[in-house]
Symmetry: C2
Subunit: 331 residues, 2 copies
C-alpha cells in the first residue's frame, strides 16, 4: 500500500541548520475533496529563503515545528475533483516536502508536458523570473555597465550573469570557492568571478570590476554587500533579492557600514523586491526567456539530487554552497 | 587697517569635534584678479556635512589641516573685476570661514536684497531645496501617508515636516530632547515627535506612527534608521539625505541590521541624493516654496548666533543638538 512520506520541520535551528531539524514521517495518502486535486510529487525544489521561513515571518507566514516542511515542486495528478485537471496532468504547486498532497485547484498550475520538469522549476519558474525582473526592472543595467551578482553559482545568480551579458554588460560574480569561480568564467560565460572567502575581498573586487560596479544584484547581504557598496559607481543600483548570509543563523550580523553614507555620496538606489509583485508581467518575461533558451543564449543550470530521503541533507548542502544552479530533488 | 580674519581647520578631529580643531588667523584682505569679486562676509552658515568634509572625501573634496574651513555664506561685494557685479551687491558663495574672500564670478550668485540673508541661507537656499526635492522627488509621499524625519528640529528636518503636512501626510519627527519635541508639535506643527535618546525607541516610534511609516527622510543614519526600517510599511521609501550620526566620529558604527532583510520583505526603496543633482529644477522649487512662505504655510526657522569669533563653538553646539532650524552666524 502506498503511503505519503513527509519531512516534518521538527525542531527550530539554533544557529546553522542541520539534517536533525527534520523528521521523516509516514501518513495516509490524502483523498481529494471537492475542488481539489491529489498530486504525487516527482521533483521538489530548494530555496535559500526556506531557511528564513523557519526563522520568522517573511513574505510568507512563518513555519512552525510540526509542520510539513514547505517548498514548491512538480507532481503528477493522481486524482482530480476539480474542473480542468485530470489524472496524468503535470502540475506545479507549493506541494511541501512530501510525496503526496491534496491541493485546492486554485493553488495548482498546469504545466506543458513537453518541457522538462527541471526547466519548469528553474529557468521558466520563480528562479528565472526573479533573475529577469530583479536585474532588468530593479537593477536597470545599460550596455557597457558592470553588473555584479553575489551567490553567482546559485540558481538565480547563474541566470543574472548570463542576462547581464545579453544586455551588453560586464558580468562579475562572487562565489564561495575557486572551482565555482573557474566554472562561472569558463563554462557559464561570466567575465570574472571572485572567491569572497579568499584573500582581500575589496582588492579582488576592484581587480574584477576595474570600472566599478553599476548594478549589484544582492542575493546575500553581509560582507559582499558591504564591499559592493564601496566599489559602486555614482548612480549605482542595488537590487536586493535576498540575504542568504543572514538566513542560516539565529544571530544576523549588522548591516554594512556604508549604509547610509555611501548611498548619499554616490546617490545609490537600493531597492528590495519580491518576484510575486511582477507576476502580472510573467508572460512577457517567459516569452523573452524562452527565446533566449531556444537560441542557446541562456543556459539553464540545474543540479538534481536523486531521492526524497535526501531532502534535509541537500538543503544543508545548499547553505554550505555545494550546488551549482537550481538545486532539485527527484522524488 | 582692515584684515581678513580666518578660521583655519588646523587639526583633524580624533573622535568628536571640538573648538580646538580650529585656529583663528589674520591675513591681508585679498584684491580682485580679473574676473573676480572680493566679498566681505555678513552671514555664514553651518552644515552637518562639514564634519564629513573633515573626515574624508564626500561629494566635495576633502578638507586638509591648514585650509580655511569651508562653508557657504552671504556677503557684500566690496570690489569687482567681473562683469555683472558691483560694489554693494549682496551675493552668496562658498566663502569659507573668513571675513573676506576673493572669488571667481562664476562661483558667486547675486541675491535679491529685498529678502533677508537668513532666508536666502535657509528656506530659499540649499536647506529648502534639500527638503523639497528629497521629500517630494525621492520620498514621494502621498496624501494620508506617514512621513517620519530624523533630526526634525534641524535645518532641513523642520522644513520636511512642514512640507509633509502640506502634502496631506502625518508628520512625525525625531529629536534629541523633550523640549525640542514639544516645540516641534506645539510650534512647528508636527503631529508627533519622539525623543530618540529616551526610553524604548521602537515602542515610542510605534506609538507616534500607529499606521507605520511610509516615507522616512533620513538625516542621521544610525539607530533611528534601524528603528524606522522596522516600522516601515510595505513599499516604503527612505530618502537618504545624510548620516549625521556617523559624521562626528572617527569610528562610524555598522549599518542597520535590517539592511538588506527588511528591504526585501517589505520592498523598500532606499535612495541617496545630493541636492546639487536637482539644481536644474531650482526655479520650480523656489516658486513653490516662496508661495508657501508668502501664504504663511511654511515657516522659515533660523537660529542666528552673533559674532564671527563664535564659529567653532557654534559648530560644536550643532553636533550637540543645540540649534533649532538653520544655524547661522552673523559676522
Amino acid at each position: 500500500m502506498t503511503v505519503n512520506r513527509q519531512w516534518i520541520y521538527a525542531r527550530k535551528p539554533n544557529g546553522q541548520i542541520g539534517a536533525g531539524n527534520f523528521d521523516l514521517k509516514e501518513a495516509a495518502v490524502p483523498k481529494a475533496a471537492e475542488g481539489e486535486v491529489v498530486v504525487r510529487s516527482t521533483m521538489l525544489q530548494f530555496d535559500a529563503a526556506s531557511r528564513a521561513w523557519m526563522q520568522g515571518q517573511t513574505y510568507r507566514s512563518q513555519l512552525n515545528p510540526g509542520d510539513v516542511m514547505a517548498g514548491r515542486g512538480i507532481g503528477e495528478v493522481i486524482e482530480s475533483k476539480a474542473d480542468g485537471f485530470a489524472a496524468g496532468d503535470m502540475v506545479m504547486s507549493d506541494i511541501g516536502w512530501q510525496t503526496h498532497a491534496a491541493l485546492p485547484a486554485r493553488q495548482v498550475q498546469k504545466l506543458d508536458k513537453s518541457v522538462a520538469p527541471e526547466l519548469h522549476l528553474s529557468v521558466y519558474g520563480i528562479t528565472g523570473l526573479t533573475a529577469y525582473f530583479g536585474l532588468l526592472d530593479v537593477g536597470r543595467p545599460r550596455p557597457g555597465e558592470t553588473v555584479l551578482v553575489s551567490a553567482a553559482a546559485g540558481a538565480v545568480g547563474v541566470l543574472v550573469g548570463q542576462i547581464a551579458k545579453l544586455m551588453g554588460c560586464r558580468a562579475v560574480g562572487t562565489a564561495s570557492d575557486d572551482a565555482k569561480c573557474k566554472w562561472l568564467v569558463d563554462d557559464v560565460g561570466f567575465d570574472a568571478a571572485v572567491n569572497y572567502r579568499q584573500g582581500n575581498l575589496n582588492a579582488n573586487l576592484k581587480a574584477a570590476c576595474p570600472r566599478g560596479v553599476d548594478v549589484y544584484f544582492d542575493n546575500t547581504g553581509g560582507d559582499v554587500l558591504g564591499a559592493a557598496l564601496s566599489r559602486m559607481n555614482m548612480w549605482g543600483r542595488v537590487a536586493c533579492c535576498g540575504a542568504v548570509a543572514n538566513y542560516d543563523t539565529a544571530t544576523p550580523s549588522p548591516g554594512p557600514a556604508g549604509v547610509p553614507g555611501f548611498l548619499v555620496t554616490k546617490r545609490i538606489r537600493m531597492e528590495g523586491f519580491v518576484v510575486m509583485d511582477f507576476f502580472n508581467r510573467q508572460r512577457e518575461a517567459l516569452l523573452q526567456i524562452k527565446s533566449w533558451v531556444d537560441d542557446g543564449k541562456l543556459k539553464p543550470v540545474v543540479d538534481i539530487v536523486e531521492g526524497f530521503e535526501k531532502m534535509p541533507e541537500t538543503l544543508v548542502g545548499m547553505f554550505a554552497g555545494k550546488n551549482r544552479g537550481k538545486l532539485l530533488v527527484r522524488v
